[in-house]
Structure formats: C-alpha cells, structure tokens
C-alpha cells in the first residue's frame, strides 16, 4: 500500500469529469421538482440523449451538434411525460418509470447502427499559461467546455430561483399550485417548461457519457446514473449549489474508491463500491436536522376546478 501514489490534483480533476453527467441531469430534475413535478424518467431521458447526441455527432462530425441534438432528444422524450402527467393527469411516479422503460428500449432501437463507432473528439480547453499552471491548471483550466457549461447551469439555476420573478413563480407553483393558479399564473404551462428543461439537461448528461466520458455507444450505457441523479436532488434538499457539492461527493467517492484499490489498500472492494451510497445516507441523516424540505406540491396532480 502506498498512498503517495494517489495524486490529489489529478483526483480532483477526474472527479469533476465523473460528476458532470450526474450534475447535469440532477440540476434539470431539481427545476422540475421545484415546479412540483416528480419525474422518475431521468434514466430514460439520459440514455435517449446519449444516443441522439452520439448519432448526430457521428453523422455531422461535430460534437456541438451532438450536444444540441441530445438536449432536443431528451426534451422530446420528456414531452411524453408532459402528455401523461399534465394533459391526462396520470400518476407521476408510474409515468416516470414507464418513461425510463420506454427510453431504454427506444435508445437501443435507435442505436443499432452505432455500435463500435468512434465519435468525433470534443476539444478540451487549452489556455496558454493558465492550463499549464501547477495544481490550478489541471483542476480549473483544462476541461472540456461541457463541464464548465454544467457549472454555469447550476449558477444560472440558483440565480433564477433566488433573484428573478420567474423563479419566484416557479417556486410558488411548486409549493401551492392552487394558490398560484388563483393568482393567475399558468400552472400547467410553467410545469411543462420545467419538464422540458429537465429533459434537455438529462439528455445533455447522457451525451456527456457517450461523447466525452466513455466515449462510445453501447446499449444501456448509462447503467443507472439517472437514478443517482434523482437521489442527488433529494440529497441536495432542492438547492442548486448542494447539487454541485453532492455530485462532486459522489464522483469523488467513486474515483477515490478506484484510486485506493490501485494503490493497494486492502479494503474489500464490494464494501468500497457501496460506500458512496452508505455515506449519502449518513450525510442525509445529518442534514435532516436542517429544516429544508420538499416542495409542498411535489408529485400532486393539478387540475383547475374553475
């Protein structure tokens, strides 16, 4: 065992990459849940985004088009969820699960011609001087653009929810849809927009896996990341910056676990592999002293009775 082999700078740099797909999907779901809607279909939207992004990037040769297509793909799939829950007033938990099932199947149908292909590379940031700085360089200045975009989305979401009128309305809808409706806000319209945003973010997160983190297309390649993202939103008690923190904690534990193994630390691997989940539960218990709670109307069906 030799812990000095673990390079903390590289560890932080790679945990940021590992955290980005979860981060993107979770921040989208956060907005959805803040609007009072629980969409459990994150995994399905992610994998759909992964294949849409991959296919378009391969066909067009441009990773940028790929990411745009991924966002569109995720949003289009979430439109199904909109139809079910906002138009037909179906139960959100079941609709979300059905969406995941559907998305997994759809993505493998779409992806049949794309197994074994190599996508065009996404360039990394390379700023002269800054990227070469010790410590700060690898951590802050030499990632791919999407990683920074993820952080920007978190900041923007935070600002939107906290400082803008739109954010206030969104929260009002999530807390008490009847009151918001009485005040004349378009509850359904706001929720639809939130759901579409969530779908787009999940799609981006999926494409980050298929275009940058792995990069390749294989069926079922998101391997449960969508579920982690869902958990993360609750973990973050619906606060944007805590989503970032939580995503890094998750990514960090996964990467650290592998690092410890490679350094020869003799801890049973399966217990290391389960540590992120156990620690999340522990942190959650500690945080529960905090009074923040779920949006009051979360998961409730809204029907204007007027």
């Amino acid at each position: 065992m030799d812990l000095s082999q673990i390079n903390p700078v590289l560890l932080i740099a790679s945990l940021m990459v590992a955290a980005t797909p979860i981060l993107l999907a979770a921040i989208g779901e956060l907005v959805v849940e803040r609007a009072g809607v629980l969409n459990l279909g994150v995994e399905g939207m992610m994998i759909t985004g992964a294949i849409c992004g991959f296919a378009v990037a391969v066909e067009s040769g441009s990773p940028l088009f790929g990411f745009v297509a991924a966002a569109v793909g995720g949003a289009v799939l979430s439109l199904l969820f909109v139809l079910l829950t906002q138009v037909a007033l179906a139960n959100q938990v079941a609709s979300g699960l059905a969406l995941t099932l559907f998305g997994l199947g759809l993505s493998s149908l779409l992806g049949q011609g794309y197994v074994g292909l190599k996508p065009p590379p996404t360039p990394r940031l390379d700023i002269p001087v800054l990227s070469d700085l010790p410590v700060v360089g690898p951590i802050l200045f030499s990632h791919d653009p999407v990683l920074y975009f993820g952080i920007v989305v978190v900041a923007a979401t935070w600002a939107l929810l906290k400082f803008t009128r739109a954010g206030l309305i969104l929260r009002a809808v999530g807390e008490n849809h009847d009151a918001a409706h009485a005040l004349g806000y378009k509850v359904v319209r706001i929720r639809v927009l939130a759901i579409l945003f969530g779908g787009a973010c999940a799609g981006l997160g999926g494409a980050y896996i298929s275009l940058i983190r792995v990069p390749q297309w294989t069926e079922g390649m998101t391997a449960g990341v969508g579920w982690i993202a869902l958990a993360l939103v609750v973990f973050a008690s619906w606060k944007p910056w805590r989503v970032l923190l939580g995503a890094y904690l998750f990514g960090g534990l996964t990467v650290l676990q592998l690092n410890l193994q490679a350094a020869g630390v003799a801890i049973p691997v399966e217990y290391l592999a389960m540590s992120p989940y156990v620690i999340t539960i522990v942190v959650l218990v500690i945080l529960s002293a905090d009074k923040s709670r779920a949006p009051a109307a979360l998961g409730r069906v809204f029907h204007a009775t007027r």
Partner: protein, 360 residues
C-alpha cells in the same frame, strides 16, 4: 376548447373500459412500430398476446405466467399499501435481494441435513431479511425525518454489492470449482420451493401472492388499519385528528412491503431461480412499482396488472425468437402499453367536455 371535468364518482364503465381501450391502442401503435421494423404486425401482436394463452404450446406458457407474475404481485401489493398512505418505498429491489440472501443463507447453513422444518425457517428468514432492510429507511424517517425515497433507493445499490460479495464469498458453492454462485437449492430437497403440482407453475410463492391479495383486500376494506392508510393518503391532517399515529403507520407500511419483497426473493431463489448469483435480481422490485400503479393500488387490479406484465414478457420472448424482433422493440412496446394505460385512465375520473372559452 377541450376541458376536463371531474366526475363526482369514478366511472364504473370507464374503469373497466380503459384497460381494454389501452390494449387496443397499444396493438395499433405497436403494430405500426413492428411494421416499420419490417415485421408482420398482425403476426407479432398475435404472438405476444395470443400464443402464451391459447397458442400451440400454451400448456407450457400458462403456468409460466404464474411463475413470472407471482413475485410482481407479491411485491406490488406490499408497495401499494404504502403508496396509498403516501409512504414511498421504491427500494423493493433491495429488500427482494436481502430476503433471498437471508432465506437462502438459512437453507444453506443446514446443508446437507434434510428436515421438513428447513423450508419454513427459510421463509421466515426471507421475510425477516426484507423487513429488516426496509426498517432502515423506516426508522430513519421516524427518528430523523429522512426521506424514505432516497434511503430505500440507495439501499438497493448497497444490497446489489452485498449480493455480489455473497456470491463470490460466503455463500459460494464449495463444490463449484471456484465459480461464483451458491449451491443450487433445487437440488436440495428440504430447501427447494418446488411446484406443488408438477407442470402447474404453482409454487409457494404463487400461493403466497394469492393469499396476500385476499389479505390486502380485507385489510383495506374491512379493517380499521386499512381505513387509516387510506385516510392518511387522502387527508393527512384529518388522519391525525382521527387518531392515526403516523410513526406507527410508516413502520407498518414499510415493514410489510419489505417483508413481502423479501418473501418474493426467497421464493424465487429457492424455486425458479435456484441459486444466489451475482445477477440474481432482475428488476422485479422496480417493475412492481409500475404494476402497483397499473393496478390502481387496488389488490384485484394489481393481480391483473401483474399477470398482464408477465404476459408481455413471455409473449415478447416468443416474438423475439420466432420473429427475430429485437428485445428493444419489446421494451418500447411495453412502454407504450404503460403509457396508454396511464393516459386513458383519465377517462375514469374525468369527463371530457367541449367548451367555448368563457370571458373571465
């Protein structure tokens, strides 16, 4: 403009008609999908829905419906009680795994002793295992107010790692030449959850599922506790005035759903699956959530929904091998069925009216 108008009472007619309409709609759209994939849609639909029930080899598939449907129904019934009361256990998959581990563990501890007592002990251990695993989110919720959705979901991943660890370590078959996986309980008579009548598909898990359906029906309709569960879900504040103890209700709902999921795991590992292995769990715990909602959280509805899901699985497999349909197409088809069932359900509770826009 189309407007939805809430019915004073859910429509009896539509609650029966919507599932049929949903299946018909799925057949149409699924048929289109199959046609796009270059397969004969009529044949595909017939293979999925007709062959398992009334086709040439239905004598084999009908019992299989019970085997595939029983764990789904067993778990979904347990979940539905909690869902009704607004208690969200979405970690049944984990409780299913732990029930299988504890149950099989007890059985294997006795190997190679033969005794009638072993199987009942395993059943008990399986139920207790699932119950204990569900008690973690329950107690954390009662004590600290921790969100049970998250904790129960996290524990699924923990259980999966435990399963891998057990199949590679403690429960590994010592005569298995180092390969992962436990002894096969099908070859250990005292621990084998065999078919009660050979070829009928009836094993103890199926019996347990049927008993549970009846038990849940009676509980919800004839018992005070069932009333409390429904009241808590519909009107939490009223429930408190009616003297419902929320902590006790949480412990009960999570406990019973955990125990039933654990039982399902035990019956599966001791019977149809036979052994603990790394990939023992196949998603019954998650599918059961869908089944619970498809069945509208009603025991009889869940029974039918479970059988319908089982039918699409089995029919889907036949369509795959007979017609070369990809597994993904079957998944999409199942997704469609769920969408239509959920979407058309709106007709049960709402009336659709055409209305001219009023001036506010």
């Amino acid at each position: 403009m189309i407007v939805l108008e809430k019915r004073p009472q859910p429509s009896q007619f539509w609650s029966l008609a919507t599932p049929i309409a949903a299946v018909v709609a799925t057949m149409i759209f699924g048929g289109l999908l199959f046609a796009v994939l270059g397969k004969n849609p009529v044949e595909a639909i017939r293979t999925i829905f007709w062959d398992p029930l009334l086709g040439e080899f239905a004598f084999y598939y009908r019992p299989q419906l019970l085997i595939k449907g029983a764990p789904l129904v067993l778990i979904a019934i347990g979940l539905s009680l909690g869902f009704k009361a607004g208690i969200w256990n979405i970690g049944a998959e984990g409780q299913y795994i732990i029930g299988a581990l504890t149950g099989a563990g007890v059985g294997l501890a006795f190997y190679p002793m033969e005794s009638w007592i072993i199987f009942p002990l395993m059943v008990l251990a399986g139920a207790l295992g699932g119950w204990a695993w569900a008690m973690i989110p329950a107690l954390l919720k009662v004590k600290f107010g921790t969100n049970e959705i998250l904790v129960s979901l996290m524990l699924v991943y923990v259980a999966e790692q435990l399963l891998a660890s057990m199949s590679l370590g403690l429960l590994k078959n010592p005569e298995g030449f180092g390969f992962p996986g436990s002894r096969n309980l099908q070859q250990y008579d005292s621990a084998h959850n065999a078919e009660l009548i050979a070829g009928s598909g009836m094993h103890w898990g199926v019996v347990a599922a049927m008993i549970t359906v009846i038990f849940a029906y009676v509980l919800l309709n004839r018992h005070m506790l069932g009333f409390h569960i429904r009241l808590t879900g519909d009107a939490p504040r009223a429930a408190r005035f009616a003297g419902v103890n929320p902590a006790r209700l949480i412990l009960f709902c999570l406990g019973i759903s955990g125990a039933l999921a654990g039982l399902a795991g035990l019956f599966e590992v001791a019977g149809p699956a036979g052994q603990i292995s790394i990939d023992f769990n196949t998603g019954y715990g998650f599918t059961a959530i869908i089944v619970a909602f498809l069945g509208r959280l009603h025991p009889i509805g869940i029974l039918l929904a479970g059988l319908l899901m089982a039918l699409t699985y089995i029919g889907g497999e036949i369509a795959q091998s007979q017609m070369g349909l990809p597994a993904a197409a079957i998944q999409v088809f199942q997704g469609m069925l769920l969408f239509f069932l959920l979407a058309l359900d709106v007709l049960t509770n709402f009336r659709i009216r055409l209305k001219t826009r009023e001036v506010a």
